[in-house]
């Protein structure tokens, strides 16, 4: 039985592998020839005629849409920057594998869009160009925010350009119609949130006569689900916080315990979905969309998709968004380090300083308002129109998805660093959500370890974090008590956590 099963598996694996190989082969072929060609071209340019012919630039970028974009915008970019672009589009799902494989085989293109952590060792090893000293020479690149660049630095040196993202999108989305039915105001404090969850559960907010609603819908994600955001409301540090001049992990702060107790209370009283530690994002959304739950804590712009779906089921559904939820210590919201991905320049493909400057000059031009708008919104009259100085995107979303959207993965910087056109939002909810995302910038809680480095964390951090994650869930579901949680924290310390604390603090002292 087993052997036959194995054989079938083998056959399937074989076929899949073949299919993949075929796919990769195509890609690799393109990329390979591209890279080789570019090296020659680049060298020729670099030595003989750097200012004359178009500079050839190769890059690898994530493809978030099903299709490779048409080359309409690429052509325009080439024309305006006097370059010859070779962009290797790789679907999101296999992107990291592709980058790692290219890296291992020494075939990375000249510009690599990637996460940073995986390459830290290689950066230390001198595999990538340090670009910090050059940034001042470029009128647009020098606008990149120093505090964000610091977060992307390795041992205090800057090796990458970054793609900007809103620092914190977190907030509360709730059913406005339910709140109106019960005469509730928009929640302003953490007690309001509890109160709303309780009344949504017990007071039949949808007026259907059945006891079939709960307050909060959460999912199996402690960061982008409700937990981390609620912990901000209680004043917990973002990942790490300073205590008596020393960095300590968030879960050693009393505010973390308060957050756990809050969720535990919701769980005990049945105000949150019982299976939230194993609830998927889809199921969580469905709870909210279908009118089973009335509160959703997470990314504010999600309100658009949630409302669209909810109205299909119940045309009377209304939603509202809220931020600045006040806890015992005032307001605050955790933030990401200010970037989504970075662009690295491998020495294996960018051969000389001259060539590096050419590539940087290209990115400098990409950061000009004209080209940034082009990559963000497309061509005026074709992909968008302008009304009252604001962009109104074309209603043909298929067209923009095919021709424009993918280029967001190539662009660097963003609205904070470039004078870009603003977009007119389609619905008031969306507009309000975007406004609150901007407002979050005023109350950010930063992660002080973003620019720091710990060897033990790089090697064992994920596994150690599992200990804390498990203990947190176990506490919230009342299967361990406070002493039990402390015991797990001690275990974390003993199995390597203490080293992480020491290493981060050493790195912190050095940085200050």
């Amino acid at each position: 039985m087993k052997s036959r099963k194995k054989r079938v598996h083998l056959l399937l694996t074989g076929l899949t592998t073949l299919a993949l190989l075929a796919g990769c082969g195509g890609n690799a072929g393109n990329g390979g020839t591209g890279a080789a060609g570019s090296e020659n071209a680049g060298q020729a340019d670099g030595t003989d005629s750097s200012k004359k012919g178009p500079v050839k630039i190769t890059m690898i970028a994530t493809l978030h849409t099903p299709e490779v974009p048409s080359d309409k915008i690429e052509k325009l970019l080439e024309e305006k920057t006097n370059t010859e672009l070779d962009i290797q589009w790789v679907p999101q799902g296999s992107y990291d594998d592709k980058v790692n494989a290219s890296f291992a085989t020494g075939t990375l293109p000249m510009a690599v869009n990637t996460g940073l952590i995986f390459f830290r060792d290689a950066i230390r090893n001198g595999q990538f160009w340090e670009i910090g000293p050059y940034l001042e020479q470029f009128p647009n690149l020098k606008n990149l925010k120093p505090e964000v660049l610091k977060n992307t630095s390795v041992d205090g040196k800057i090796y990458s350009l970054y793609q900007e993202r809103p620092l914190s999108r977190q907030g509360v989305i709730y059913r406005k119609d339910w709140a109106d039915n019960l005469g509730l105001q928009a929640p302003k404090t953490i007690d309001d949130i509890y109160n709303m969850a309780k009344l949504f559960t017990e007071k039949d907010p949808d007026k259907n006569g059945a006891n079939d609603t709960i307050g909060l819908a959460d999912r199996n994600d402690m960061i982008y689900g409700a937990f981390k955001t609620v912990s901000s409301y209680f004043g917990t540090p973002n990942g790490w916080g300073e205590q008596d001049g020393k960095l300590m992990p968030e879960f050693m702060f009393p505010e973390y315990m308060d957050t756990m107790k809050f969720i535990q209370k919701l769980h005990k009283e049945g105000l949150i979905n019982k299976d939230f530690p194993v609830t998927s994002k889809t199921d969580q959304r469905n709870l909210f969309i279908s009118g089973k739950a009335g509160l959703y804590i997470g990314s504010l712009p999600d309100v658009v998709g949630l409302l669209e779906k909810a109205v299909e089921i119940n045309p009377n559904a209304k939603m509202d968004v809220q931020n600045r939820i006040e806890g015992p210590k005032g307001v605050g919201i955790w933030s990401i380090p200010g970037y989504a991905a970075v662009v690295l320049f491998p020495k294996s493909s960018v051969k000389s300083e001259e060539q590096l400057k050419d590539v940087l000059a290209f990115y400098d031009k990409l950061m000009s308002p004209e080209l940034a708008n082009l990559m963000q919104y497309g061509i005026e009259g074709e992909h968008y129109t302008i009304k009252d100085g604001k962009v109104i995107p074309s209603t043909d979303t298929k067209l923009t998805e095919r021709e424009v959207k993918p280029y967001a993965a190539v662009a660097i910087g963003g609205p904070r660093t470039i004078q870009m056109l603003e977009s007119n939002y389609s619905t008031p909810e969306k507009a309000k959500a975007e406004e609150l995302v901007k407002d979050n910038d005023n109350i950010l809680i930063n992660d002080p370890t973003a620019p720091l480095d710990s060897k033990t964390f790089n090697e064992q951090g994920t596994r150690l974090q599992e200990i804390i994650k498990d203990a947190t869930y176990q506490f919230m579901l009342s299967s361990i008590d406070e002493a039990g949680f402390k015991a797990q924290v001690d275990r974390w310390l003993k199995e390597g956590g203490q080293q992480i604390i020491d290493e981060y603090n050493a790195s912190y002292q050095k940085g200050n």
């Binding site: 039985m1 087993k2 052997s3 036959r4 099963k5 790692n100 890296f103 291992a104 020494g106 995986f118 060792d121 290689a122 090893n125 595999q127 199996n220 979905n273 019982k274 299976d275 530690p277 194993v278 609830t279 709870l287 089973k292 790089n458 090697e459 064992q460 951090g461 994920t462 596994r463 599992e466 994650k469 498990d470 947190t472 869930y473 176990q474 579901l477 299967s479 275990r491 199995e495």
Partner: protein, 317 residues
């Protein structure tokens, strides 16, 4: 004495060589037919094994095998000193034992039952129906069981609460993980597992049954004295193969069932390698764990084979 020893030790290998060459030359078409299979195993199974050396290095992709520093048994030490090691080993062996004791007999039982069905069409219908789950991925099976077992409007818990019973937290408890696991394995694999047994049973000489009926054996006697003994060697071979798979409990399946509330009984080597190794780019450590797992599997399969031979069965090699 001396002379013969020398001549034999010198001449025999030479003779053997030449005769081997001659044999190959003579049967070259047959050897040519082996070649693709031989190359397959050499290229895809044996040569890649040399990659195991990275278990003894601090492997970095950009330095490659030749450039990465050698660190001896560091990664094995880390594994054996890991506080989770015994939990993981215990879980792995426990789930394996459950597989062997609870799951393994089920396909035999079903095959025997199906073999007794006289209505041909019905038999084929049932057979097809019960092996269909084999073609479903674990993602689907686990998702279905989540929908059925959830505390938030899961079908089974809804039925419980309608009957006035307490809801049971199947998905997030240490107690229910193992029963859930083995039932899912049986549901998915048992039907598929019957195929080989049924094939073996089809080969049993009908005269044996006829003779036993003459002697007055009823159905149960026939099963006990004819059906089961006839498929004994098949059972033994499959058992040995199953034991060889000792630590292959299905990463995907367990990974999907695993959560913070049942990690204590659900974490196995594969899931551990994923979180502690691959997710952090610790290739060398992952390799060391995988290597340890394979060695345990090899030892077990050899032991099982040895036992089978002792018991007078054929074994797999």
């Amino acid at each position: 004495m001396n002379d013969t020893a020398i001549t034999s030790s010198v001449s025999v290998p030479g003779k053997r060589d030449s005769s081997l060459m001659r044999r190959i030359a003579k049967n070259r078409s047959i050897y040519l037919m082996i070649l693709p299979g031989f190359l397959y195993f050499a290229i895809f199974k044996y040569i890649p094994m040399s990659g195991l050396v990275i278990a003894l290095q601090d492997y970095q992709p950009y330095l490659g095998i030749t450039g990465s520093p050698w660190v001896g048994l560091k990664h094995f030490e880390r594994l054996f000193n890991d506080p989770m090691f015994f939990t993981i080993l215990r879980n792995t062996l426990f789930l394996f034992t459950m597989n062997l004791v609870i799951y393994f007999p089920v396909p035999i039982l079903i095959a025997v039952m199906l073999n007794e069905v006289r209505h041909h069409l019905f038999k084929r219908f049932v057979q097809t129906l019960i092996y269909i789950p084999h073609f479903m991925s674990w993602v689907i099976i686990v998702s279905i069981s989540f929908v059925m077992l959830s505390m938030d409007r899961g079908l089974i818990n809804e039925v419980f609460s309608m009957m006035g019973l307490e809801k049971i937290n199947f998905l997030m408890s240490n107690e229910w993980f193992r029963p859930m696991y083995i039932l899912q394995v049986i549901w998915r694999e048992a039907g598929w597992g019957t195929i080989i047994y049924l094939a073996a049973m089809a080969a049993i000489d009908p005269q044996l049954y006829e003779a036993s009926r003459m002697d007055g054996a009823n159905r149960f006697r026939q099963i006990w004295h004819i059906t089961l003994p006839s498929i004994r060697s098949v059972i033994v071979v499959l058992l040995i193969l199953k034991i060889g798979d000792v630590l292959e409990l299905g990463f995907e399946h367990i990974f999907l069932l695993l959560n913070s509330m049942n990690r204590e009984v659900a974490e196995i080597f594969d899931t551990y390698v994923y979180t502690a190794g691959l997710k952090q780019g610790q290739f060398s450590f992952s390799t060391a764990v995988g290597f340890f797992k394979s060695v345990v599997g090899l030892v077990l399969i050899m032991a099982a084979n040895w036992l089978a031979k002792k018991a007078g069965e054929e074994g797999v090699y």
